[in-house]
Amino acid sequence: MFQQNYFELFGLPVQFNLNRSDLSSAFRQQQTAHHPDKFAHADDKSQRESLQKSAYINQAYQTLSTPTLRAAYLLELAEGKERREHTMRPDAAFLMQQMMWREQLEEAETLDDIESLIETVRSELPVVETSFVSAYEKQDYELAHHAVDKMQFVYKLVAEAESKEARLLDE
């Protein structure tokens, strides 16, 4: 099992777009077969093995079910562990965009402000994901890394906006 990559483990094609329900059902199938609860009465060795396998399945599931981790994992598979250090050309337009959103978040005072910002930022995701997929397919890994960074930024900003929203709701 540990020689299989995460996609192989779940019997999925090695690509960014995946079917969530295929992933979930493969995950559950694997856990049903290997979870420590299924070995509660077995010998120590089987219990240890089951613990390691179950942890590996959890790790694989978390990686594949989180888009940024999934994208980074695809690049890791493609480039090997020794990832080349890409000299990143900063994307000036995206930097501007980031600064603008950050300002908007800081200035947002009402729930409506925040919600509309979250919506705007989220709407950027499909764009970034598409650009990742096309860069990855063309094996332009530098561009693909750029897309992963953007994806990370978008998710992080959404998380920050949501925690600001939560604070407002609590007040």
């Binding site: 559950r28 856990q31 509660a40 613990l51 942890a55 959890n58 790790q59």
Partner: protein, 612 residues
């Protein structure tokens, strides 16, 4: 010794011999034991028909008593009558403060011990007494030794609390097959595991604590999506609200004894108002009527607080109210009609109430025990739980580097690489912490251990792989290995010192509130660490290879280092950064010369072939 029985070939005495398994709800106020008997799930009563065993232990002159007998001694011999030991499981001396007992720290671990006339007792020992009573009750009822038990713990219980619970079980001679989270057990009791798919909220309002958990299940697989709650809010606060109302209305200032009576009266009033619309009450001759409407006005703020926690947990799980398919009630206080109404209006579905909310957790544990012990080999039920708080390591500058984030599904193994900070460093202190905050000091310390025997290398060259493993019970072990030499060290986390439940939930809340401050503190601290690292490495390089520098260069670099030291004690991240860049620029040529010199030295006297 019993004789071994041999049956006639082909006729084993009982081919379907069931293994004996029970579920135990080791509660703060009451404990229960339950089993699955054929198709029937039931709690096991004592000889007088009572299932609930008060979680109270009395250390008397001649004997130790547990349960109601111990409760009767509360007023008379309070110093030797221990209630709510669960609150101190896996906790430190600091948490014992304010509790009405005498404590002494243990000589070995520093953990608090109750001082009783029968000697000092740890919370683990007290809990073992309770477990012992439940064990005998179960063995009598099932007719023999138990093959295995499942014990429930609150979902937010941390490593040391879980470990302490397991220790208590082994002390009582029980074989624990699994520690199960209480909310998961409650959902299992309703047979929700047999549903195709659904999202469940478990609302647990006990005597002194409130917990909310959001679970998702799909074809028998449970996942805990989020947990939350309020550890200083419970049914006792409802009683308190009634008692305070009486004090106010009657214009009296009751003594401590009267206040205790008043609380008992308030409790009865609350129970009557569950069934009736109003109740006459008489407190030492002062009479009045309390209607359910008035009562509800009194407790409304408390219920609102629980609803706020519910909403927060939903947000943590990334869900909306109408994503919840079922609401499960746990704890006697959920019998209050207003609680049910508030939940019905929040979720749009009435909460499930067919299983007694006092027994639901024990029954769920019994069902799971029956599966784990092997009585239901075809069951496809599988419980996947998560860790309640993030686990991390202390890195340079007192920062918490999270290795496993909270709400990660267990079991989980995760490794992270760290390196040395100083040239020639041969040992490393691994400090394991639990919590959400950026600075280690704001989190809970779980344990420390040392990795020794790292071969001396330049700073940053060693590869130390630290592996965290959390098993299916939520218990953590940590190991560290230096990759090039293979030296290893590890610990299993045991109770060291602790925080109260209130602090745990407080820590999560604070991490939200302080997210912004923390980030600033972190980035300043990171910059300072970077400055220290630079000072350290340039100074040691000058000490070794100073002869490679001209006088002017030495002067410039030394001056820049002094300036860096100066700004580093001030809290200006930008100024530090500027100075770091300056030092780095001034030493570029020096670094190149050192590199060349060391290559020359390495090659001197060797054939090129030797390196192939």
């Amino acid at each position: 010794m019993a004789l071994l029985q041999i049956s006639e070939p082909g006729q084993s005495p009982d081919p379907h011999q069931r293994r004996r398994a029970v579920g135990i709800d080791l509660g703060t106020t009451n404990s229960l034991v339950a089993t699955v008997n054929g198709a029937l799930n039931q709690t096991l009563p004592d000889s007088s028909g009572e299932s609930l065993l008060p979680s109270i232990v009395h250390y008397g002159q001649d004997r130790v008593s547990v349960g109601r007998a111990a409760r009767d001694m509360l007023a008379e011999d309070s110093a030797n009558t221990i209630a709510s030991a669960k609150r101190l499981m896996g906790r430190g001396m600091a948490d014992a403060e304010g509790l009405p007992y005498d404590f002494e720290p243990s000589k070995d671990s520093g953990l608090p011990l109750f001082v009783t006339r029968r000697g000092n007792m740890s919370p683990v020992q007290v809990s073992a007494e309770i477990l012992n009573v439940l064990k005998s009750r179960a063995e009598e009822s099932l007719g023999g030794e138990l093959n295995g038990v499942v014990i429930t713990v609150p979902a937010y219980f941390d490593e040391s609390q879980r470990q302490a619970t397991k220790d208590a079980a082994s002390l009582a001679g029980l074989k624990v097959m699994r520690l199960l989270n209480e909310p998961t057990a409650a959902a299992v009791a309703y047979g929700l595991d047999k549903a195709e798919e659904g999202t469940i909220a478990v609302y647990d309002l006990g005597g002194g604590t409130f917990d909310i958990s959001i679970l998702h299940l799909h074809k028998g697989v449970f996942e805990v999506l989020a947990t939350g709650g309020d550890s200083s809010l419970g049914g006792d606060d409802f009683d308190e609200a009634i008692a305070n109302w009486v004090v106010e209305q009657a214009g009296i200032s009751p003594s401590r004894d009267e206040m205790r009576q008043l609380h008992a009266l308030a409790r009865q009033v609350k129970e009557v108002l569950t069934e009736q619309d109003s109740v006459e009450l008489d407190f030492n001759g002062w009479c009045t009527e309390l209607t359910r409407v008035q009562f509800e006005r009194l407790i409304e703020p408390l219920i609102t607080r629980t609803i706020r926690s519910v909403k927060r947990a939903l947000r943590d799980a990334g869900l909306k109210q109408d994503d919840i398919d079922n609401v499960v009630l746990v704890g006697g206080s959920t019998r209050v009609p207003m609680v049910r109404e508030a939940l019905t209006s929040l979720f749009g579905v009435p909460p499930l109430s067919s299983v007694d909310p006092d027994k639901v957790v024990a029954i769920g544990a019994a069902i799971q025990a029956d599966i784990l012990v092997g009585n239901k080999p075809d069951s496809d039920v599988l419980l996947l739980d998560v860790i309640p708080l993030s686990l991390g390591l202390e890195t340079m500058g007192g920062l918490n580097e999270k290795v496993i984030h909270r709400n990660t599904t267990i079991p989980v193994t995760r490794a992270q690489e760290f390196t040395t900070y100083k040239d020639g460093q041969t040992a490393m202190m691994i400090h394991v912490v639990q919590g959400e905050r950026e600075m280690v000091a704001d989190n809970r310390s779980l344990g420390r251990f040392e990795l020794r025997g790292i071969p001396p290398m330049v700073a940053g060259a060693a590869h130390i792989r630290v592996t965290f493993q959390v098993d299916a019970d939520g218990l953590l072990s940590v190991s560290a290995t230096e990759q090039t030499s293979g030296v290893e060290a590890s610990i299993v986390v045991k109770p060291s010192f602790g925080l109260s439940d209130a602090e745990i939930s407080g820590m999560i809340k604070e991490s939200f509130a302080h997210a912004a401050d923390d980030k600033e503190a972190r980035s300043l601290r990171e910059m300072q660490v970077e400055a220290e690292r630079m000072l350290e490495s340039v100074e040691s390089a000058i000490a070794i290879d100073g002869h490679l520098l001209s006088e002017q260069e030495t002067h410039d670099i030394t001056a820049a280092l002094a300036a860096l030291k100066q700004v580093n004690v001030e809290h200006d991240e930008h100024a530090i950064k500027v100075q770091i860049d300056r030092v780095s620029h001034l030493t570029e040529a020096f670094a190149a010369r050192r590199m060349n010199a060391s290559i020359k030295q390495a090659l001197a006297g060797h054939n090129v072939n030797e390196f192939e």
